[in-house]
Amino acid sequence: MRWLGTTVAAVVGTAVLSLSAGCGMGSGSHTELVVYNAQHEELVSAMLKGFAKETGIDVTLRNGSDSELANQIVQEGSASPADVFLTENSPGMTLVSDKGLFAPLDQDTMTQVPPQFVSSKKDWIGFAARSTVLAYDTRSVQKAQLPKSIMDMADPEWKGQVGIAPSGADFQAIVSAVVAVEGTSKAQAWLKGLESNAKIYRNNVAIMSAVNAGEIKTGIIYHYYWYQDQAESGANSKNVQLEFFGHQDAGAFLSTSGAGVLKSSKHADDAQRLVNYLTGKQGQQALVDSNALEYPVGNGIAANPKLKPLSELDPPKVDIGSLDGPQVVSMMQQAGLL
């Protein structure tokens, strides 16, 4: 015991000295771009691989969730270390945009995607899209029995049979679409119904795996989780099929992953280049070639042929800049989902 204690004391002493000598962890050098990233890290790394090679600019990712990082940027204000902000869904972008913290996008960048993927303030841009789907257990549910609208999931017949991940930004974005399409009071009633119907999971993968295991009949997720699993082993999805609601139902919501440059960035030009790259030919093609299986949004870039074509999705027309995250969180708190 005595020798152990002495050894530990010696090791710790050395470590403290080396720290005070200036070896701070993660303080980062000044020639790097700091990206607050709420998108899947693997996808963003794949999309930016060529960027680092082409420009020699290093990128440090700070990973988190949409609302967490968006709120963080808002609190940090002009002192934020972030140069670029990437989200999975648009409400996070709207939150930062509403506070006026984004710089205007380069004109050239905005021409790379269809106009519906650029915010009306022209301060952030979509770089990927994902469709809301209902995953269902093919062993216990026939396609004909499926609801026609996501609003039906609040009906008593689905009690205990629908999985959601309410703490995730994905589900919160879907709720914001329901609010935009159906109005606040209908959306609030729908949330109340879900609160009694739904089984709560941490994320989309967990929902899909529970549907696959027969724990629940259906679950509300995004499309690519199923396609990814099918492309790999199908271990979590072999009993699962996807229902696309279509018909401009709130449940056919196509969510946009956004990219924006912070006004406070000290490397504004490099940050603009990064967003340009992400939405340009190379970045978008890297998305298609990756195993992310999200939809590209760039002009003239075709999605992975395995996916249901974007043109067949028939999503509701929702202004990507109008989705209100804080309102959704407060509505979900009221419904007891958060």
Partner: protein
């Protein structure tokens, strides 16, 4: 895991209020006060926020169905898991200490060993092979399997220190074995059991990883969800406030329940060796039961990790990432251990060498953080640094400060014990022999206390290495530790990729378990 260390008994110290030794140096008092303020920071933050939020908003956020659900979940989990832990812990301790169970030494080790499996790794082991084991059943089962050693250890130590003469007197007065156990032995175990139950409850109140994996919402997971949905909103802080009140209520309840009964006697005497109860034919079911317990608590998680390691190695392990995370965890652990021990010294020094009202107060205040869940400390530090100390925000020093607040009780306890073993009279002797202040410190005091401080540092180090909740919120840009990497992988159900991290976390926790066992053994002497 959260630092939970019971305050040491004061039996050896003179009554508080009567000063011992010379007046404490002002510098030392100042340092100890600064440290005490640091450790009280999260508590102050929660109180300040509650006042700032205002009654209307606070009551809207607190008095709603969701809070009631979380409270109900938290309470029934605590009651269920504590009751089961007490039953398992006391039963196993009695078997090991008071029966003729074969292989008692081996059983002792096997029954403490589950502590080496962090609870979130245990949950991962179970849920990855039995996905249906979630909700209340899963949460009670898995937290009990993770935490019953926290009752087993003190119960074993108390039984060992118990003079069998008391039981023999009971027998001679006509009580049977069963009656003796319930009327004589169990009451004597009361302080140990209360301590164990308090530890288990505090662990449960701050448990995050395991409960999130098991889909069992409690305050900790709900605070984390709020944080993810809206960062450090008042919704998160209000839930944190309720959680802190629960923790403090537990501490008070423990003080109240301890009561004023006396258990100590003057001098240990020379007790006769215990006459062990013969198990007879019951030995077989008992052995089967203990084997099942060890398989469930240790075999399943470790077997599951091995299984996923084998399955994962086919798809390839990202060695570079693994090594990087290991390096980060080890260096964070080492630095945090050093800092925490340094911070612990002033309070411990005052408590041992200059005992008085102020010293006791300063020392005790460092124990408060043992009741604070990691998520509350992290939330407090995030908000305070963003609002008032921006340059510290998202830096390693802030993360280290978080660790120090969480784990300082461990360091204070060991530093106190170490200082107690270096009586001031030795300093006086050195001085009288012509050694100066620095020389005395270097040649007499330091050599005497270094091993003890080192043991404290080791405890803090190992706690930091397996810390998850606070690290998730406080880790600086690009910093990935073993625990956060494990968390990210297991969250996306990439069990094969999570397994190497789980294995390393268990390997690193093993020495902590050894140290805890040593401490518990020594405490009985």
């Amino acid at each position: 895991m959260v630092a939970v260390t019971a305050a040491p008994a004061d039996s050896a110290a003179p009554p508080a209020g009567r000063s011992r030794g010379p007046r404490p140096p002002a510098l030392l008092v100042l340092a100890a006060t600064a440290v005490a303020l640091l450790t009280l920071l999260p508590l102050g933050f929660v109180a300040y926020e509650a006042v700032q939020t205002g009654w209307a908003e606070a009551s809207r956020l607190i008095f709603r169905q969701r809070t009631a659900d979380l409270l109900w979940n938290t309470v029934r989990l605590t009651v269920g898991s504590v009751a089961l832990s007490l039953a398992l812990g006391v039963g196993a301790a009695w078997l090991v200490e008071r029966s003729d169970l074969p292989g008692r030494r081996a059983w002792t080790v096997l029954l403490v060993a589950p502590l080496a499996v962090p609870s979130f790794v245990n949950a991962f082991g179970w849920i990855s092979i039995a996905p249906g084991l979630d909700g209340y059943t899963g949460a009670v089962t898995i937290t009990t399997l993770s935490y019953f050693p926290l009752v087993f250890l003190p119960a074993m130590a108390a039984l060992r220190g118990l003079d069998p003469g008391l039981e023999e007197s009971a027998y001679s007065l006509g009580l049977g074995r069963r009656a003796t156990f319930f009327r004589v032995v169990l009451p004597q175990l009361r302080p140990a059991l209360l301590g164990g139950a308090l530890l288990v409850s505090l662990h449960l109140l701050s448990e995050f990883g395991a409960l999130a994996l098991l889909r069992y919402p409690t305050f900790t997971t709900a605070i984390y969800d709020q944080f993810q949905s809206s960062f450090n909103s008042s919704a998160a802080t209000m839930l944190a406030g309720v959680l802190v009140l629960l923790c403090l209520a537990l501490l008070l309840a423990d003080l109240g329940l301890r009561g004023r009964s006396r258990y100590a006697r003057i001098g240990g005497g020379a007790p006769r060796p215990v006459a062990r109860a013969p198990l007879g034919p019951a030995v077989w079911p008992v052995l089967a039961g203990l084997t099942t317990l060890v398989v469930l608590a240790l075999g399943v998680p470790i077997g599951s990790i091995v299984r996923w390691l084998l399955a994962g190695s086919s798809t390839g392990i990202d060695t570079h990432r693994l090594l990087q995370a290991t390096g980060t965890s080890l260096s964070l652990g080492a630095v945090a251990a050093g800092v925490t021990v340094l911070l612990a010294i002033p309070a411990a020094w005052l408590a041992v060498r200059h005992r008085g009202r102020v010293s006791v107060l300063l020392e005790r205040s460092t124990y408060v953080s043992s009741a604070l869940p990691g998520i509350v400390v992290a939330l407090a530090l995030v908000t305070i640094s963003i609002r008032a100390a921006r340059p510290l925000y998202q830096t390693a020093p802030l993360l280290i400060a978080g660790y120090a607040i969480l784990f300082i009780p461990r360091a204070v306890v060991t530093a106190r014990a170490a200082l107690a073993q270096a009586p001031p009279v030795l300093d006086s002797v050195a001085r009288s022999l012509g050694e100066g202040t620095i020389g005395t410190l270097r040649r007499v005091t330091l050599p005497l206390i270094t091993p003890g401080l080192g043991a404290g540092a080791a405890l803090v180090f190992l706690a930091v290495v397996t810390e998850l909740t606070a690290t998730l919120l406080l880790a600086p840009l690009g910093t990935r530790t073993l625990a956060t990497e494990f968390w990210n992988q297991s969250n996306s159900l990439a069990y094969g990729a999570a397994a190497p991290y789980a294995a390393l976390l268990v390997a690193l926790s093993a020495p902590a378990t050894y140290l805890l066992t040593r401490q518990a053994r020594r405490a009985t002497v």
